[in-house]
């Protein structure tokens, strides 16, 4: 089926509820429905196995329009069908929960509820996921009329206080992991209720380091935002700026040169190597195999050095600019990259042998946290976690973007769906990436590095999807024709994969919980993007951007 037929199918499925349908782009279908038709429409798409729910975007259309929008994006290969629901900007913005049909929707729904004040009826969990416990009621940071003065902390409001010593009663008690815990160097909070060594319930909380990036994006111009989005994640910084630039270039109808596209894919490949090697180390450490941890991080230095040589930076490479890339690949760098890849390939092959043959490591990975195909589909898994369960979801293959059309890669899959399969998938992917990087270096197309971009981007909205090391990264970008974007919504792969961890930890041993969490390669900075609250020296304060900047300048003066 080609894209038109796929979209045609979706349109047919949605006919009974369709109020107005448009095709904003060749690969997109946009269907307006009313709020009470949401569940039947979603059920129709779901039952027909038309793609998967990729994201739910909430947008405030402003006080003048008096409306909010909820967009349910379904992706099927390159085709995207969006269900668009208009709702009033009041408490009556009611949406029925679809988490019983599509479990990962729970996280998306909680996000739009907390950020924009949609009322989600029928959702199982009414706890806050992202915004702080002492955040005032009825204040929604992504509303267009939100001001920082509204965000005054409410004293004494703490939702998740635990019973004394966490003893729930009987033999069970709660083991908290994070936000400060040696296992989790990142600010997430998990509570595992354990009976002896067996986990009986799992719960999580995010948002300890919200930075308000989506909100901040609305007050910055298109170019400034490139650097802002690069900082969503310190591990996959390139994919974020990649997705953002692709989207903006699409809106501006600018064609980037083949050379720049190829360089972007090359950096994305190197970044994947760095990210997966980092993950391998973390996973080995969680399992208590520190030698593998040290070795893989040692070898990761090789690719970090290559990235530094290529872009000048080790973490936020900032090689993307709107309309192209900043730096070229010279002969010297090409040689260095190839040498580095030779070394890395030897290492990766060795690790592949270790994770599939080391009996002690296999004790902790084989058959642990198994997610089979049907379950993977139900949980809406993405990226290597999905591919380890035989679910081929890889944007690079499904909907090739940028240079992936000219330098295609093959999707790596495994069928077992356990932690071992996830290790194997990730390592094999690196070999594929190494091959792709070599091909690009040998066949680097000629062309300018950048093309001119307009300062104002024409009005419109677009969706840009990029395969990050952790899975599909989803950007929804909307322009009103001005110098700033009207709305940028980022849905990171980690958010889609949480459901599987929480469900799979129950019934397993506590000792497996960190491994399960690490197994999906969670990225906390990816999840935390939206609030501007800083907790400093015990007292909670709300800092505006101006205050922060002033504080920063003052701090470095000393």
């Amino acid at each position: 089926m080609n894209i038109e037929q796929t979209l045609q199918k979706a349109e047919e499925l949605l006919t009974p509820w369709n109020k107005a349908a448009t095709h904003p782009e060749v690969n997109r279908l946009d269907v307006c429905i009313s709020a009470h038709d949401l569940r039947p429409a979603v059920t129709a798409l779901h039952n027909a196995h038309w793609g998967y729910l990729s994201a739910i975007t909430g947008t405030d259309l402003g006080a003048a329009a008096g409306q909010m929008e909820a967009l349910y994006h379904f992706c099927n290969g390159p085709a995207i069908a969006t269900l668009r629901i208009h709702l009033p900007r009041t408490k009556d913005a009611r949406l029925s929960s679809i988490e019983d049909i599509i479990p990962p929707a729970a996280f998306f729904e909680r996000e739009i509820r907390e950020m924009l004040g949609f009322t989600i009826t029928g959702s199982k969990n009414s706890e806050r996921l992202f915004i702080p416990d002492d955040w005032p009621e009825d204040v929604y940071p992504l509303r267009s009329d939100f001001s920082i003065d509204q965000a005054k902390a409410v004293e004494g409001r703490h939702a998740d206080e635990l019973p004394e010593q966490g003893v729930v009663g009987g033999n069970t008690f709660v083991v908290p992991i994070g936000p400060q815990h040696p296992a989790l160097k990142e600010p997430g909070h998990f509570e595992f209720t354990v009976d002896g060594e067996i986990v009986t319930a799992a719960r999580m909380r995010l948002g300890y380091a919200h930075r308000g990036i989506e909100k901040a994006a609305e007050s910055r111009n298109w170019i400034q935002n490139l650097y802002l989005f690069e900082r969503v994640c310190g591990i996959c910084s390139h994919t974020h700026s990649f997705a953002y630039s692709l989207g903006v270039e699409k809106l501006a109808q600018v064609e980037v040169s083949a050379r720049a596209q190829a360089i972007r894919e090359l950096v994305a490949g190197l970044e994947r190597i760095h990210s997966h090697l980092l993950w391998l180390g973390v996973a080995a450490h969680e399992a208590g195999f520190d030698t593998l941890f040290m070795y893989s991080w040692r070898d990761r230095e090789t690719v970090m050095n290559l990235l530094e040589q290529l872009t000048g930076n080790r973490v936020n490479y900032s090689i993307n600019v709107l309309g192209g890339v900043k730096s070229d690949i010279g002969l010297e760098q090409a040689v260095a990259i190839k040498e580095g890849l030779n070394y890395l390939e030897t290492c990766i092959r060795h690790y592949l042998e270790v994770v599939t043959t080391d009996t002690m490591f296999l004790n902790r990975t084989r058959g642990v946290g198994t997610i089979l195909f049907a379950e993977a589909e139900r949980f809406g898994l993405l990226g290597p976690t999905a591919r380890a369960s035989g679910l081929v979801r890889d944007v690079r293959v499904d909907a090739p973007y940028g240079a992936y059309k000219n330098f295609p890669i093959s999707a790596v899959t495994e069928d077992n769906g356990d932690l071992e399969a996830r290790c194997v998938v990730r390592l094999n992917e690196l070999l594929v990436s190494c091959f792709a990087i070599r091909t690009i270096i040998d066949n680097l197309p000629a062309g300018p590095l950048t093309v001119k971009m307009p300062r104002k981007i024409p009005a419109g909205e677009t969706i840009s999807r990029v395969e990050a090391p952790r899975g599909e990264l989803f950007y929804y970008i909307k322009s009103n024709g001005g110098e700033n974007p009207a709305r940028v919504h980022v849905r990171t792969p980690s958010l889609c994969n949480w459901v599987s961890v929480l469900e799979k930890a129950v019934g397993r041993q506590l000792a497996d919980a960190p491994m399960l969490t690490a197994g999906m390669d969670p990225c906390f900075s990816c999840n935390d993007r939206v609030i501007t609250t800083v907790d400093r020296s015990g007292s909670r304060q709300t800092w505006s951007w101006k205050d922060l900047r002033a504080y920063g300048i003052e701090y470095y003066k000393k």
């Binding site: 083991v175 060594e197 080995a284 195999f289 040290m294 902790r364 919980a513």
Partner: protein, 307 residues
């Protein structure tokens, strides 16, 4: 005069101060070797000593719910147990400071005291992490204790004495590592279990339960547990090498043999992935204890035939 010499030998050499310093040295060797195997630089030679000095200078925080008597008492008992155990083993290649028939059992009991105290300390501080750590430490104790004891009984049965010095003397003519290889391996791995070294570090698996039973300990209490641990390391290694590697007589053989055992242990530590607690127990009862029982049976039968 005699009592003065005994006092000196207890407090300064070879037990007491020398013991503590040797323990720290062995701990450093362990950490350094593991670091080198893992491609790291590793600590400098005085690092374990610096750790202890730092801990001794630090504030000790008592959890509100903990019984203070137990909180302060347990590390002392643990350290005292480990120090007393050292009295009966041929430290640094010298004859044991004290010796009597059956001291092998007493020594093994004293060595377990540290684990027991750790378990109790975890229970007493009643933090969630320390409770789980304590449960795991005690569960693990039941897993390796019997096979470890049986592994040490092999040479004792062959010697026909349960006195450490007698076995040490007998072993100088009989390399039990060759005649009882299974016992040697079980003793070596059992010792790693006793010391909670990887892969038996589930009781202090930092990725799940922070520091396990000792999570709430800081300052002096933690320092005492740590010193106790390094003494247990050296006493354990001394026991195993005295029994299985041809006895310990003189400083040079002591250093060579004990460091060889430590070297083996560091290799295992860097090669193996942490076992879950159910896997640890399963491994010891399914393989360790059965193998060592078979070994003992063979020893008894052979000895009977020889007699």
């Amino acid at each position: 005069m005699n009592s003065l010499i005994s006092l000196l030998s207890l407090l300064i050499f070879p037990a007491g101060l020398t013991l503590v310093l040797t323990g720290m040295f062995y701990e450093w060797v362990d950490r350094k070797l593991v670091a080198r195997f893992q491609n790291r630089v590793g600590p400098r030679w005085f690092q374990p000593f610096a750790d202890i000095v730092k801990l001794l200078a630090k504030e000790q925080i008592i959890p509100k719910v903990a019984n203070p008597f137990l909180f302060f008492g347990l590390p002392m008992v643990a350290l005292a147990g480990a120090l007393t155990a050292a009295v009966y083993v041929p430290l640094i290649g010298f004859a044991p400071v004290n010796s009597f028939p059956g001291d092998l059992i007493v020594t093994i009991y004293l060595l377990s005291l540290l684990t027991l105290c750790t378990g109790l300390a975890g229970w007493n501080t009643s933090s969630r992490f320390s409770l789980i750590g304590a449960t795991r430490a005690l569960t693990q104790l039941f897993a390796y204790e019997a096979p470890f004891l049986l592994a040490l009984l092999g040479p004792a049965l062959a010697t026909g004495s349960w006195q450490i010095s007698a076995i040490n003397d007998y072993a100088s003519h009989h390399w039990f590592a060759i005649s009882q290889p299974v016992g040697f391996i079980v003793a070596l791995i059992g010792l790693m279990g006793k010391l909670e070294l990887p892969p038996f570090d589930a009781p202090e698996a930092e990725t799940e339960i922070v520091a396990g039973a000792l999570t709430e300990y800081s300052g002096r209490g933690l320092a005492m547990f740590k010193i106790g641990k390094s003494i247990e390391l050296i006493v354990g290694i001394t026991l195993v090498s005295a029994f299985y590697l041809g006895g310990l007589h003189g400083i040079l053989p002591f250093l060579v043999k004990t460091l060889a055992v430590l070297f083996l242990m560091t290799i295992l530590q860097s090669l193996l992935t942490r076992l879950r607690i159910d896997q640890t127990v399963g491994m010891w009862w399914r393989f360790g204890s059965i193998l060592v029982l078979a070994q003992i049976l063979i020893t008894i039968l052979l000895k009977g035939n020889l007699l």
